[in-house]
């Protein structure tokens, strides 16, 4: 088994913001092309700010911790601010992830983009610019 940092283990043991939001403004759903892990992300938006966020994950310790950390990082941020949070920043906030587990942080980033894409489609009719459903793992920072 890979070595995880104390922060990863903390978020793994006590994941933050687990669950679903009823009638959310945006839902993200991502299956990792790398390993098959799954993440669902629910967001509620008020005045362009993410006021509530919940997530669920089917995945390993790194996936669970990445989702948890991402929800903490995007809460109360504007959509633009949240979209600047890359997988690398999620991994850094966790004190780092083993190289073989970096794709788990990408899962979290993609789940957010997928949720924002859903929100924008519902509100403006156009999705998130440059976002392709399914995620683009090669565009992440490793």
């Amino acid at each position: 088994m890979v070595e995880y940092t104390e922060i990863v283990l903390d978020h793994f043991k006590n994941p933050r913001n687990v669950g679903e939001i009823e009638d959310p403004d945006g839902i993200g759903h991502i299956t990792s092309p790398v390993c098959g892990d799954i993440m669902d992300l629910y967001i509620r938006i008020k005045n362009n700010v993410i006021v509530e966020v919940k997530y669920k994950t089917y995945g390993c310790g790194a996936a669970i911790a990445s989702g948890s950390m991402l929800t903490e990082m995007i809460k109360d941020k504007t959509i633009d601010e949240a979209l600047r949070i890359t997988n690398k920043r999620v991994a850094d906030a966790l004190g780092g992830l083993p190289p073989v587990k970096m794709h788990c942080s990408a899962l979290a980033e993609d789940a957010l983009k997928s949720a924002v894409d859903d929100y924008l489609k519902k509100t403006t009719g156009k999705g998130l610019e440059g976002w392709k459903p399914g995620g683009q793992a090669e565009e992440h920072e490793y």
Partner: protein, 389 residues
């Protein structure tokens, strides 16, 4: 915190009597068995005694035992040794898709050099049908290799039945018995094999040593060259301390075999039945009865194996998983895929392998902790909800 080791298919703690047996051979009786002086003769006598003990455990002759560095070398030695020594006879090998990587990888290498390898089908329990061996044999077949029992799912293969088919032709028959020697009865003649791989550290011996049983008259070339050790079959100064420990471990295994089986079987069944009773949506991997006494391998739906493993580890329980997330390659277990599990289900696999020091309380502890962990992870899993709708 209480620590419970349930990963005996990975390795076992060296038996204290084995350690005692090895102790003098580090600094006092340190001779090289190839030396003709007193120190050398002393070491030589000791490794020959160890050879007899290994041979006795599998009802072989001691001169048919070649010491190696372990199961991986024994499997590599078999494939290279047989393939290159029998080139004129043929270039076809038959094996299964559920073998250990230590057998599959040398097979792939040989395939890249032009050999043909047939991978037999296995059923949902991982069993090979002996009739499929008959169908796969050609006049170019030089070797059939089927593992005695699978390291992940614990299924015990019908080696004797396969042997009867192989022996109708002049084909060598190898079995990887790394998981069975010391765990269930292994008798060379009853199995009808020509080559058999053994690993010391799977049977309470030290790591870094093992053996290949080679039936007298088997044509093969050495894997290591550069010395006359092991009757010219394996060069390199013998791992004397390791071999002596391995020999002692084999002697203990022979004496304790029945009691080990009687100890482990009810504990295994208690764990399997307890898991099935307490956790919904779990499947048992491998054969329900034709399985190793130590092996419990399950697939838990809607949750991923590494996250279960990590939670168990935090509670002091050590086990393993076939999940893609815990493998360096990010591929799920080839064994679980070969028996027809979906990648998702293979992703949620857990293996508990019991040992001679496992007690009933350990099993009860797992049965108390595991359902709680699965429940917690299922609450976190988006799959639980969707499947239940």
């Amino acid at each position: 915190m209480k620590k419970i080791y349930l990963d005996h298919a990975a390795t076992t703690p060296t038996h204290p009597e084995v350690v005692e047996e090895m102790r003098p051979y580090f600094s006092e009786k340190f001779g090289n068995p190839s030396s003709i002086h007193f120190f050398g003769r002393e070491a030589k006598t000791a490794i020959e005694k160890a050879r007899e003990r290994v041979a006795e455990l599998i009802s072989a002759k001691s001169e048919e035992i070649v010491f190696t560095s372990g199961g991986t070398e024994s499997n590599n030695f078999t494939l290279h040794g047989i393939a290159y020594a029998n080139e004129k006879k043929g270039n076809h090998i038959i094996t299964t898709p559920i073998e250990h990587h230590a057998l599959l990888e040398p097979c792939k290498f040989l395939e890249s050099r032009g050999l043909k390898v047939t991978y037999l089908p296995v059923d949902k329990h991982g069993l090979v049908n002996p009739e499929d061996v008959r169908k796969a044999v050609t006049d170019k077949t030089i070797l059939v290799s089927v593992m005695h029992a699978n390291n992940e799912i614990g299924t015990i293969e019908p080696i004797s039945e396969i042997s009867r088919i192989v022996k109708e032709k002049e084909i060598y028959f190898h079995t990887d018995a790394v998981q069975t020697v010391g765990a269930i009865p292994v008798n060379i003649d009853e199995l009808g094999v020509d080559l058999l791989s053994i690993s010391s550290h799977k049977l309470y011996g030290p790591k870094g040593v093992g053996a290949l049983y080679v039936r007298k008259g088997t044509r093969m070339i050495p894997f290591l060259r550069g010395g006359e050790q092991e009757r010219n079959r394996r060069a390199s100064t013998e791992n004397v301390t390791g071999i002596i420990g391995f020999g002692k471990a084999c002697e203990l295994a022979r004496i304790e075999l029945q009691s080990r089986i009687e100890h482990l079987t009810p504990l295994r069944d208690k764990l399997i039945n307890g898991i099935m009773d307490k956790i919904p949506d779990v499947v048992l991997n491998g054969h329900p009865t034709q399985r190793l006494p130590k092996n419990v391998d399950i697939a838990v739906k809607y949750v991923e194996g590494e996250s279960m493993l990590l939670n168990l580890d935090m509670e002091g329980i050590a086990c393993s998983t076939g999940s893609a997330c815990s493998s360096g390659s990010l591929e799920p277990s080839h064994v679980l895929l070969a028996i027809g599990l979906s990648p998702e289900l293979a992703h949620g696999s857990l293996r508990f392998t019991l040992g001679r020091l496992t007690i009933e309380k350990d099993i009860e502890y797992v049965l108390e902790i595991l359902p709680r962990i699965v429940k917690k992870l299922r609450e976190l899993s988006p799959l639980s909800k969707k499947e239940k709708q």
